[in-house]
Amino acid sequence: MTATLIDEPALPDVRPVAGAVVDGADALRNATAGLRAAAHDAGRTWSGIDAVLRSPGATDALPRAMDAPVATADGLASAGAAVAAALETFADQVTTVRRRRRALLADIEELRARVSASGGNDTVPVEHRADNDELHGRARRLRSRWAQAQDDLNGVFRARSGSGGLFLPGLGGGTAPPLVMVDLAGVARGFDDALRLPLLRQLAARGPEALGRWAAEHPHEAARLLDHPPAARTVAAWWDGLGTDERTALVTGFSAVVGNLEGVRYADRARANRHTLEVELPRARARYAALSADIARSRPLSAAERAEYTLLAERVGALAALDRTLRASTAAAPRTVVALTLGSPPLAAVAVGDLDTASRITVAVPGMGNTVAGDIEAWTAGAGNLREAQRSAADRLGVDRDVATVAWIGYDTPDMPPSVEVLGSRKAAAGAVRLRSFLEGASGTRGWPAGAHLAVVAHSYGTTTATLAVAQTPVADLTLLASAGIDPSVPDARAVEVPRGHVWASQADRDFVANVGRGSVELPLPTAGDASAPDRVTVADLASTHRLDPRAPGWRARIFSSDDEVIEGRSFRGSDGHAATPAAEAALRGEPGKDVGYLDRGTSSLRNTAYTSLGFTPGGRKIP
């Protein structure tokens, strides 16, 4: 018999909410089951590894590598399911205990009201003691039931905590290491790289012939090295680890790949491309001559032969132009071919200076109508002029003069009018992908932080291409000459990965072509004033997809002059039109030449571009 009047504290304290417990159970069951499914998926896939990758002594343990994770996932899922079931049972108990508690509490309050009405307080009058005892009994049973529910749940937790785990109730859960997110796709790529580069090294150890045979018999693998290359830094580390003989074997036996493989030392790329040139030029000439002879004999060419003939004409032209370009190399301005692909059109990049040692590399990107066959000599002359001007500027500015430039005809430029290709952004977008690869390759090869020490100078449609490229790949300085227009996806200078204040634009007053690319056909107005700076009238509007003028205030580039200027007492000519190197082209033809262009010697644009591409204002102030 209990003399004390029952009250609410005699009831169990039930804080959990059944719904939350069930939700936790569901989440645990589903998550652990999901993990088990993924682990089994991995295990099933991995079970095929022995059939495709086997090297006794090296791969013996590989097929079993997934056993442990699958077993762990199974164990966890089993524990998760058991705990989830126990939690659901516990949630039922929560519901039941809560319901009974509510009923019991109502009865308690009713009894306490009766006791109060009869004038009693916590001392139970005799006539209510039986009821009070009965309620105490119910409360005791309910507490017991609640305690049992928790004990049952604890037992399952304990049983499912794993054999290795130390069960210490009350311990916090923060002792396990956190899940470190891993880029598994990157790990898979690492496998791919790991398999490719050592293979090349081993083949190289057997000499260029073995490499050449392998390349001939595995053209897809060779092409894949260029289409989906390993990271430049990976290649650079691998290349550094090769012996001299291995490198030489790769340079001569695998030149078409090595000459373009980002990460390979530029001097070796140059050797490889020189080798390609020396092998392919006579070969292409001989085949071209043979087909020409067939044509002369009126033997009809098959469709394949006609296609080959066209390709050979391009190839011979490009290789011959590169050969002439390299012949103009001097000790002071050494030229090397640092990229060369013989597709249609052939593409190439010629370095002026030493890319392996230069403290700064400036990549010059040309515009429409530029091909290796027709323009690499003049474009390299322009790049050479730029390097010469940079070295001169470096002397005046007191900075390192070991700089290099690259005449990069690394993309399929738009055809000249009447083609309307120049009004679209398609070729610029494709070129931007290639330019990004070259720039990122330079960073990786040199071990430079992304964008550091790299400048881009672009001309005409090259500005369309370059801005799309540096919108994603950082460079230190960007100079846009005679822009044929910027794509709207690069709405202003803030959209490129170039430090603020390091983006420059310029167009000569006498250039009436650049604006055509932007869709605006303009003509000079007859003027009685300064003929070097004629007024313009717009006579037609074309549907260009890249209409933005980087000189417009809204585009936020900094501007410099490409017109006649006197700087520090020295006269510089303004560009006479749109062309970048008319004087250099005339010189190559052996003609005197009258006009000068943006990258010709003695022009204000060349002088100013030299400064901006070194990270200085045309006035000689270092840009922070």
């Binding site: 762990t72 290491p177 899940l179």
Partner: protein
């Protein structure tokens, strides 16, 4: 595109499988790459599931706050919390191990490339 190329390449490569098996080693680059990539994808799924497991364990502990089971739940979580990351680590370790043996495989591949080509085989320079 690369996969397509690899698949094409592997057809010819598989034709030399007999010779390579006799040497006790075998590598089908396209096949191995496919296994590794599919395993890596499953690993990525496992990684997402591992995050879900961690959140679920947390939810269970939270739902039992204020009960005599809260401590047991926390201990269960502590004991099981590393299981899911261990699964992910296992997948990563397998794929990484495959990369680690690639060097040896490549060496064997190169030997086969040298030998089969020198013998005038028209079936390809190695099982690659």
């Amino acid at each position: 595109m690369a996969q397509a190329r690899m698949a094409q390449g592997s057809t010819a490569q598989n034709s030399t499988a007999q010779g390579s098996t006799a040497q006790g080693w075998h590598v089908d680059v396209a096949g191995a790459q496919a296994v590794v990539e599919r395993t890596a994808r499953a690993g990525t799924t496992a990684q997402a599931a591992a995050l879900d497991v961690d959140r679920a364990l947390q939810a269970v502990v939270g739902s039992l706050a204020g009960t005599a089971s809260a401590g047991a739940a926390q201990s269960f979580r502590a004991a099981r919390r590393d299981d899911a990351p261990a699964v992910v680590r296992g997948v990563v370790a397998a794929v990484t191990a495959a990369a680690a043996v690639a060097d040896a495989v490549a060496e064997a591949d190169a030997e086969m490339a040298d030998r089969t080509t020198a013998a005038g085989s028209s079936r390809g320079a190695g099982v690659r």
